[in-house]
Every structure is written in C-alpha cells, then in structure tokens.
C-alpha cells in the first residue's frame, strides 16, 4: 500500500507518525473502514476533540436539564445530546421523568413547533461546531422575521481552530499533522487553519469522509512531511478555499466569539459563540436567568478527557468494555455514536 511505503520511508528517521482528526464522522469512518488496522502500526491515527457532544461539559448538560424541568418549557435538541450524562443524569432520564424534551433533525423543526404551540416556551440546545452554528443562526433570523417570541437558544457552540491551536501548542501531544474536518471547512474555508502551517509548521489536509478520501488525505499529509508543510484540500467537491460566505455572514451576524469550556480540556479563549447584544432576546440564559454551574469531576476512573486529546486510545482506559459500554456508558466518548470509545467498541476491540 502506497501509504505504508511512505510511512516506512519516514519512519527511518523517527519512531512513529501521529496524525490527528478532529471530526466525529472521521472517527467513525476510520474505525469502520478498518484503515487503522490496514496501515503500518507506526502510523498512529488519533481522534481529537471532534465530537461536539463529547466536549460538552457536565455543567452545560446540567443547565439544559434544569431548564427541561420547568413546567411549560420544551427543550428541543439534536438526538446526539439526549443520552449524555451530566452530573445529575441525562436528558433522556429527565424525559423519562416527564420533562418535555423533543429530538429534531433540524433547528427549523424546533421553530415550527414553537409557532404551533405559542403557549409554551421552546429552547433549542445550540450544540455543534461551525457546520451547525449557521443553521441555528438562520433559524434565529427566521424566528425574528416571523415575530416568534417563545423560541430561544441555549448556546454551547464550539469552534475548531482554537481547539487545534490548543493541541498544536501542547508539546506533550506531539502531533505531526492534522486531518482537518470536511464539513466545518465547507463553511469556514481554508484560511482559518493557515496559522497551523505558518506558526507551527504542521502539515494539514482538509479531508472527505469516504475511506478512499481518508487514504488520499493521509497520503497528502505524508507527502507534506517529506516535502514541507502546507494546507491541502482533498475534499474539493465540497470545500472552496473561501468556504461558504453566506454561512459565515449568518454566523457572524447573529453570534459573537466568546470563551468556552471544553470537557477534558478546560477553558479555551475565544473558542465558543454567544448571541450578539442585538439578538439577546433569543438567549435562553438571559431569558430564564440561568447561571452556569461549575463543572464537576468526571465519573470515577473515566478518562474521556485524555481520549479527547489523543493522549490515550479508548482501549487504554481501564473502564473500556469492562464497566463502560454503549448500553451503560460512563463517559461521553462512549455515549455519543461518534465518540472515539463508541467507535472502538463497535469496530476495533
């Protein structure tokens, strides 16, 4: 295999090559396709903090749960969020206890529900990266245009480039290159990653999600390791260098950058989004006077924090498969269908 020939050549001067992806869809595709087992074991394919549900903190889940317990209030969310445990249980448990929590495919569905039931308050959980944030921005805009007053958003968005900067700066992770996310980049384009090449000298490749896309992306990264770092776009059928300007304008029109708390990492400056002052009447935190709870300690022995940074693989966690399974998950990387632990449990144990 072409990849392995290159790895062999590169590993004459180094022990191993560490490439990190930061997208749950890549995590699943790499596990499901068997790529990790097919490549030379000296090529380490690591999962970074690429699953928005996994990096959501206990405190954020607890805030959502407290909201859902209010009478007459409906929490609307993407399905991924519902089973993630906070420090007082998951949203699924709150739902079983009678809270009105509804799962939707699109934030627009939440707005439609709010318009159909004007006597109730609807709060959409704004979880996700730059791919998702514009869809919620468009929904807030639609709510304003239609004069909908019973719809608001609990923002918990996270931004990918600041997380990459954190990882690139942390010496202990020793990352040799990034497999960059295809759909985040469809929105933001290539420019926001240029600092990785210029300041950190790291090879970068925006990569698609088919197994052959991922192999080509890896190959382009290995070529850069031989010839010098650059910023390649392998996923050209979806990613333009400038990204999607309309989506960027929607996002920057409604949201502004704010600090955010990442599970397993902590606070990263300017790595989140909140509603701009003009749009604060759609901010669930202000509307319902919510204060952010402090993040609590993870479940005893859970090492999701280290898994999220690629410091350990899921199988190195003592809970993995023994007490932590998809049926009884101890941490978010096992709960989320795109978490690294769930991917290893399903395809690589």
């Amino acid at each position: 295999m072409l990849v392995n020939e290159r790895v062999k050549g590169l590993c004459q001067e180094r022990g191993e090559i560490r490439l990190m992806e930061v997208c749950g869809t890549h995590t699943m595709a790499i596990s499901a396709s068997g790529i990790r087992r097919a490549v030379d074991p000296r090529l380490k394919l690591l999962s970074g903090p690429g699953c928005p549900v996994c990096v959501t903190t206990d405190a954020e889940i607890d805030t959502a749960r407290r909201l859902a317990e209010r009478p007459g209030l409906v929490v609307v969310t993407f399905g991924d969020m519902i089973r993630v445990p906070g420090s007082h249980g998951s949203l699924a448990e709150a739902k079983a206890e009678g809270a009105d929590i509804r799962v939707v495919y699109s934030p627009q569905d939440g707005l439609k529900m709010a318009m159909a039931e004007p006597e109730k308050e609807f709060v959409f959980l704004g979880v996700g990266f730059e791919t998702t944030a514009p869809t919620v921005a468009a929904t807030v805009l639609a709510a304003a245009e239609r004069g909908v007053r019973n719809f608001s958003v609990l923002t918990m968005f996270k931004l990918i480039p600041p997380a990459l900067e954190f990882i690139a700066s942390a010496k202990k992770m020793k990352i040799d290159g990034f497999i960059l996310p295809g759909h985040v980049s469809t929105v933001i384009g290539a420019k926001p990653y240029e600092f990785l090449v210029q300041r950190f000298g790291l090879p970068c490749c925006i990569t698609g999600f088919e197994p052959a896309d991922i192999l080509e992306g890896i190959l382009l990264l290995l070529e850069q390791m031989e010839r010098g770092p650059g910023l390649a776009i392998q996923y050209r059928r979806s990613v333009r260098p400038e990204g999607n300007r309309v989506a960027q304008q929607l996002m920057s029109g409604i949201f502004e950058v704010a600090d955010a708390e990442w599970r397993g990492i902590g606070r990263i400056r300017n790595s989140g989004l909140r509603l701009k002052p003009d749009w604060q009447n759609f901010d669930a935190r202000l509307r319902f006077g919510l204060r952010s709870a402090r993040s609590s300690r993870p479940a005893s022995g859970c090492r999701c924090g280290e898994v999220l940074l690629g410091l350990i693989t899921p199988s190195e966690c003592p809970l993995f498969c023994r007490v932590c399974t998809p049926e009884a998950p101890m941490g978010p990387c096992m709960v989320s269908s795109e978490g690294a632990c769930a991917a290893y449990y399903r395809y690589e144990r």
């Binding site: 869809t25 059928r237 333009r240 999607n244």
Partner: protein
C-alpha cells in the same frame, strides 16, 4: 454530528427546495446556497444546504477512487500469482 449528505434538488419554492436522496424527498433550506438550481447536488446538514457539490471535483475524485481500486486489484492479482 457534522454529518452532511449530498442531496439532489428536485424542485425549488423560494428559499426552500425539495431534495431527493435514495428515493426519499425532503425539504432543504437554500438560504446558504442561493445560487443552487434544480438538478444540482447540494451538501445538506441539519436541513440546510451548506454547499453546492462541485461536479468536476466530484468526477475527478471518483476517477481517482477507481484508479486506487484498480491498483489494489492489480496488486492482489500479482500477489495471487506469486503464491499460486
């Protein structure tokens, strides 16, 4: 969570399109891809088209995948000859 899939646009009504994927029709907002036309493939995330699929790039990628598959097949045949 950033999962997005290619959807073919069948009809357009204002800012909303009816898209078709695997024979199933669904509503897609075109607010972020206002230049999308009937017959285009768009990449859809959470009910919104986030980009129009570049047909030329898609075709080049498909050809590259075909060549990769052929190379794998060729090696497999050669390996078969050596062992057989």
């Amino acid at each position: 969570m950033c999962l997005a899939i290619p959807v073919r646009i069948v009809r357009i009504e204002g800012e909303t399109a009816i898209g078709e994927v695997n024979g199933v029709e669904r509503e897609v907002s075109l607010i972020m891809t206002p230049e999308a036309k009937v017959g285009d493939y768009v990449i859809v995330h959470a009910g919104f088209a986030i980009q129009i699929l570049d047909r030329q790039a898609a075709e080049e990628t498909r050809q590259l995948f075909d060549r990769m598959a052929q190379a794998v097949e060729e090696r497999r045949r050669q390996a078969g000859k050596r062992t057989g």
